[in-house]
């Protein structure tokens, strides 16, 4: 009769916990997004003022490209932390770089929201705009949470094996962020 080692169990619990957490975020975002789809499908007109006009000092597509890259970078870095990615240099880099990428992401979201608001395009103006703010804001909030977690994990003093496990969990989270972000961009800007 073999008893499973305690650390093994902790790993299994953590992994299960992360999947469950991801599932519940998918449901949360899914509720918001299906609300968006239903509202849009039920509206005779659907104006998208955020798509046109100089939303910032450069085309919005550039902005999307950057934000997507930053999330991709976070995925890669956590992959490295998990010991799965390509080893480039020492780990400490991870902390401030992902912190920076995440912060930059949130900053762009807030910046564009501020710009829209300054043009009088506030959430109360129309249902489409309200959707823009809620969907973008939700992703920004979730990314902010991931950023804090990533920095925390990087600064934490734990054994290498444990750190690798956290990296694996972060990687899943950032992948989820990437998916949510692409869904949001697709829904708000492309379709």
């Amino acid at each position: 009769m073999s008893t499973i080692a305690l650390s093994d169990r902790q790993g299994r619990a953590a992994s299960a916990g992360m999947w469950l957490f991801i599932a519940s975020i998918v449901m949360f975002y899914g509720a918001l997004f299906s609300g968006y789809v239903l509202l849009r499908a039920g509206s005779p007109v659907w104006e998208t003022p955020w798509r046109t006009g100089p939303a910032a000092e450069w085309p919005i597509a550039v902005d999307h490209w950057f934000r997507t890259m930053w999330l991709g970078f976070a995925v890669m870095q956590s992959r490295r932390l998990a010991g799965e990615g390509v080893a480039i240099a020492g780990l400490p880099r991870f902390s401030w770089l992902v912190g920076l990428a995440g912060t930059a992401f949130v900053w762009r979201c807030v910046y564009i929201a501020g710009w829209l608001a300054s043009q009088g395009l506030v959430p109360a103006m129309s249902v489409p705009l309200a959707c823009w703010y809620v969907l973008t804001g939700t992703v920004a909030l979730l990314v902010a949470g991931g950023t804090i977690a990533a920095v925390w994990v990087a600064l934490e003093r734990v054994p290498a094996a444990q750190r690798a496990r956290r990296g694996a969990m972060l990687q899943r989270y950032w992948l989820l962020m990437l998916v949510l972000w692409l869904t949001t961009v697709g829904g708000l800007y492309l379709v």
Binding site: A16, M27, A31, V122
Partner: protein, 548 residues
């Protein structure tokens, strides 16, 4: 906080807090039941307690009545029954039943509890706001909920907090079951209660986020002036509302019921789990067709996520959609019937011991049956047309949650009290509690079916004084109210029993000679639960081999 990381302390903290909210919910109910029995007649002390704004001259104002009703439902469901069935029973007994020393993420569990406590206090405190607490029903339908007073904002914030809380709790319980089962404890050897808790946690985890999403939308509508749920051209008291409009009130109903129907299974599945444990132990028989029951509880949980729009059959959805939801609703009764049947057949040939726990568990069966059967006419369009929004609906779901889930919670208390305290509850007081509760519960809720069939609407401040069809039922209301009061008195017997027995009750280790793992350690269990990690070699219920 440190102590709350122990799953037993956590369970007791949940039980105590949920117990307090249960009393709060009950008192709210007594107040509005008084109004229903004697509409518009002053309550002597009401002004002194609730102030001139709520009860001038002792008469409950409609505005206050609706706060009472909305908060009764919200408190009972979100702050009392679910935390009791999931937070308390789940945290305390799941680790014990799987032979673990605690929960997988003790700090998450503790954080979940603290969030729940904060949300509960916040929501209860909203009564002191100008305009009082939330008053748009526990269902918070817009547009009403959006133009309601600020108590609704607090309600929404509370719901968001509760969502996070139940997510933390659910993750903690599920990960524990996944990773910390005793060696040899395969999935098909888990006690049925653990299965029911796992399914419940999964439902909370997957369904609650929909309500959180909806709460975000509604919060935006209330504080940021958006129109997610506000149609164009809405006027309140003939004044057009200064909003953009263009939203859809039915969207709320979809998102709300996508949570709230599974939520009713969150109320019933743990109850099923408890009743199964009690019946098998007190009838000295292994559960009949355990595997089938596990399949049924999984199916029930999964299926409960595709029936939600049976609450909206009259909202003008297409006939295709309506047929879909009528069919899924009829089908959901199949696994319920399987579960009930298995439990009844388990009794067959058993050596039944009529303990108080067993009496409550046995009473659960027909009460749940009545609640379930009365759901079927509600799930079919033509009969729903007549019954929707009447007292019949109130009767239907109260049979499931009041003599249903509540009886299961009572059974759990009598069954597991020795586990928690090392002492038994007094059986004579228990019998009084049981008989009293059984009689008064039915006296309160049975007439509601008839009232509903006669056409009396729910949520009427004056019990229907204005309607001729309600006339014959007006005289029933005082009887129902007195029975509700009596029900409360019998719960006092229960409380006395708990307090008295915790100190003076007969000491007992495993008074029911139960074979599940939680009884394989001392009562109460020591820190870390098991002196030696148990090793499991067989099925959870071994009453026949033992020859008890």
């Amino acid at each position: 906080m440190t102590r709350l990381t122990d799953h037993k302390t956590l369970g007791i903290a949940y039980a105590t807090t949920a117990g307090v909210f249960m009393v709060v919910g009950f008192l709210l109910m007594l107040l509005f039941r008084w109004q229903l029995a004697w509409p518009g007649q002053p309550i002597a002390v009401a002004t002194a307690i609730f102030g001139e704004t709520n009860a001038p001259g002792g008469i409950l104002l409609p505005e206050f009545y609706y706060q009472l009703v909305a908060m009764h439902g919200s408190v009972m469901i979100f702050l009392a029954v679910v935390p009791m069935a999931v937070g308390a029973l789940g945290s305390y007994f799941v680790p014990l039943q799987i032979g673990a020393s605690g929960l997988a993420f003790p700090r998450l569990g503790a954080a979940g509890y603290l969030l729940y406590l904060a949300a509960g206090v916040l929501m209860a405190a909203s009564f002191v706001l100008p305009g009082g607490a939330a008053n748009s029903g526990w269902t918070s339908y817009p547009p009403l909920a959006i133009i309601a007073s600020s108590g609704q904002t607090v309600w929404l914030v509370g719901i968001l907090m509760l969502g996070v809380s139940s997510m933390l709790g659910a993750i903690s319980v599920l990960a524990t079951i996944v990773a910390y089962r005793a060696p040899g404890l395969t999935l098909m050897r888990l006690p049925f209660f653990v299965w029911s808790q796992a399914m419940t946690a999964l439902l909370l985890l997957l369904a609650f986020p929909a309500l959180q999403g909806a709460a975000v939308f509604q919060l935006m509508d209330r504080v940021a002036g958006t129109s997610f749920f506000l149609p164009s051209g809405l006027a309140v008291s003939n004044t057009p509302l200064a909003v953009s409009g263009g939203g859809n009130p039915l969207l709320w109903q979809h998102l709300f019921w996508f949570l709230a129907h599974p939520e009713v299974y969150v109320l019933i599945l743990p109850a099923m789990g408890v009743v199964a444990e009690v019946i098998t132990a007190h009838a000295r028989r292994a559960l009949w067709r355990y595997g089938l029951m596990v399949g049924a509880v999984v199916a029930l949980g999964a299926w409960s996520m595709v029936v939600w729009a049976h609450h909206m059959l009259l909202t003008g959805m297409s006939t295709t959609l309506s047929s879909f939801f009528q069919i899924t609703t009829m089908a959901v009764s199949v696994p319920s019937v399987i579960l009930i049947t298995s439990l009844v057949v388990t009794l067959w040939g058993g050596a039944i011991r009529y303990t108080t726990a067993m009496c409550f568990a046995l009473a659960f069966l027909p009460m749940f049956g009545l609640g379930g059967v009365t759901g079927l006419p509600l799930g079919l369009g033509p009969s729903n047309l007549i019954l929707h929004d009447t007292y019949y609906v109130i009767g239907h779901f109260h049979y499931l949650v009041a003599p249903g889930t509540m009886f299961a919670l009572f059974a759990a208390t009598y069954h597991w009290f020795p586990k928690v305290t090392g002492r038994r509850l007094d059986e004579r007081l228990g019998l009084v509690h049981f008989i009293g509760s059984f009689v008064t519960m039915n006296a309160v809720f049975l007439p509601m079916f008839l009232m509903g069939i006669m056409g009396v609407n729910r949520r009427m401040y004056d019990a229907g004084l204005q309607y001729q069809l309600a006339e014959p039922t007006l005289a029933w209301n005082p009887h129902m109210t007195w029975n509700a009061v009596a029900l409360g008195v019998f719960q006092l017997v229960f409380l006395v029993n708990i307090v008295w027995s915790a100190k003076r009750g007969t000491p007992a280790e495993n008074p029911w000679q139960a074979t599940t793992l939680e009884w394989a350690t001392t009562s109460p269990p020591p820190a870390g639960n098991f002196a030696e990690p148990p090793i499991v070699t067989g099925a959870p219920y071994r009453y026949e081999e033992e020859g008890a």
